[in-house]
Amino acid sequence: MNVKTDAADRVLKVIDKPVAEQKGAYNVRYNGQSLCYGDSEHIKIRRKEDKQGIDVYIDKDAGGEQIHIPVVVSVPGMTDIVYNDFYVEPGAEVVIVAGCGIHNSGCDSARHDGIHAFHIGQGANVRYEEKHYGEGEGSGERILNPVTKIYMEEDAVFTLDTAQIRGVDSTVRETEVVMAAGARLQVTERLMTHDSQKAVSNMEIQMNGDGSSAQIISRSVAKGSSIQTFHPKAVGNAGCHAHIQCDSIIMDQAEVCSIPEINARHIDAQIIHEAAIGRINDEQLLKLRSLGLTEEEAEAVIIENFLR
């Protein structure tokens, strides 16, 4: 029997508070099963028959509507793999709010792999928000391995906003984007690791159409003895623009490796990358302390805003 616990409720509120109201389209997945789901007039959810997951159909009149698809895992030892496919009609506007929270109070690992594919029609505008979070007093690892594939037709717009707040022991994120002419991509990735956590983020963007553009902003904070690796790659196969910016704050005995890669295969491809890793700036700390904040408070404010 799949009964939702208080811990699961708490985790759900962290990753997706509005879903509790269950307005519009939603699908709540809990410990490997769809707990509840609902359609709206313009967003239809269908369960896959051959494997775990859903197909989501968003019609052109969605008009900025939201769909919430949170996942909670709270059973130690569980590996939950789910395949979700989104089909967005040309001209549609939609906000997709996903997220995964793991509560692990046992000694075995709890893991969720969310494999999402987005098929974005011509001129459609999609905002995809994803929040990852882990908690629980158990020694078992909390593992999240998201795979995100985005296929953008002409003039489509995709905004990807991901945040890993805390508590995830291990994550390997794979993101692939294929862009047609005039498509625009905006990615904001925020990541915090602590203790001995490990995080890897690989991203490959193929800009295949003239006038396509991508902006990738990655901000991270590594504390304790955690290790982070970023490898964003932008490939310009046409006249296109891309800007990759990776900024990391490193603390304690942490390790951050940033490997931005740009690859131009067309004379009109303009691709820029910037990467910076450093400790918290002493001048920022002094400024905030001169406003009356203690060193610890100042540090927390700097991190909070950096990852905002």
Partner: protein, 256 residues
């Protein structure tokens, strides 16, 4: 009242000790405006940093209303009542100007209050409130926001380290008006490090610091004729007037 007694600070430079501040003593009375001026590298900004605790003095005393500050760190001095505007304020990635002002105020500010603060330093609030206080802002913009953070709450004494640096003339004029308003109210003392004539002329008292020492000090009436000889009716505008070595030797005591 701020009392500074025999303040000294030295650093190791090329294997030998160099005194950046050497036995400096002065006070700032309640509601008074003191301007410290003098040549670049003379120790003015170091004195300001010693007051705020950004640098630690080797010896001396700093008393604010009788309370010894020397053993306090930066945030304790802020809580004791010192406001401090940095000469070169840092950029904050991700932090909006509005958030920074709220932190500076120590309490949530209404949007109208934030707007008023930014307006007082010559900024159009609507353009800046939601912007990040990061490196996309120019040095002058960051400087004006820096000054607004100090104005965001009341202090016993506000220390401004070269508030004019990097600021355009129009904003500078508004800033001077702001200093005048604070000065007229006499509720807060002001200590300004400045080379700017308009600011120096506003001071109740002026200190000239050079080589880490107070070279001269006195009331505005005493100091202005020395700093600006034309004020005293001295006609020696020709730099070579008076003496062969180029220094003036007129009866007004002009030292240029």
């Amino acid at each position: 009242m701020l009392e500074v007694k025999h303040l000294s600070y030295q650093v190791m430079e090329n294997g030998s000790m160099r005194r950046l501040v050497d036995d400096v003593s002065f006070c700032v009375n309640d509601g008074e405006m003191l301007v410290i001026t003098g040549p670049n590298g003379g120790g003015k900004s170091t004195i300001a940093k010693l007051l705020m605790g950004i640098e630690k003095a080797d010896s001396g005393e700093i008393l604010l209303d009788g309370q010894e500050l020397l053993a306090m760190n930066v945030d304790e001095r802020a809580k004791a009542g010192i406001g401090y505007a940095f000469q070169q304020p840092p950029a904050f990635k991700g932090m909006t100007v509005e958030r920074l002002l709220n932190l500076a105020a120590g309490e949530p500010l209404s949007e109208a209050a934030c707007c008023e603060l930014l307006s007082s330093v010559g900024m159009c609030a609507r353009e800046y409130l939601k912007r990040e206080a990061d490196a996309t802002l120019s040095g002058g913009e960051r400087k004006r926001i820096e000054i607004a953070t100090v104005l965001a709450r009341s202090h016993k004494i506000c220390v401004f380290d070269e508030p004019e640096a990097g600021i355009d003339l129009w904003s500078f004029s508004m800033l001077v008006d702001q200093f005048e308003r604070i000065h007229e109210k006499k509720q807060e003392s002001l200590l300004l490090i400045s080379h700017q004539e308009r600011i120096i002329r506003m001071a109740d008292r002026i200190l000239v610091v050079n080589d880490g020492r107070i070279q001269e000090s006195g009331s505005r009436e005493e100091m202005l004729p020395k700093l600006f000889p034309e004020d005293s009716g001295c006609a020696c505008r020709n730099e070579n007037a008076g003496r062969e070595d180029g220094n003036c030797e007129c009866e007004n005591g002009c030292s240029r």
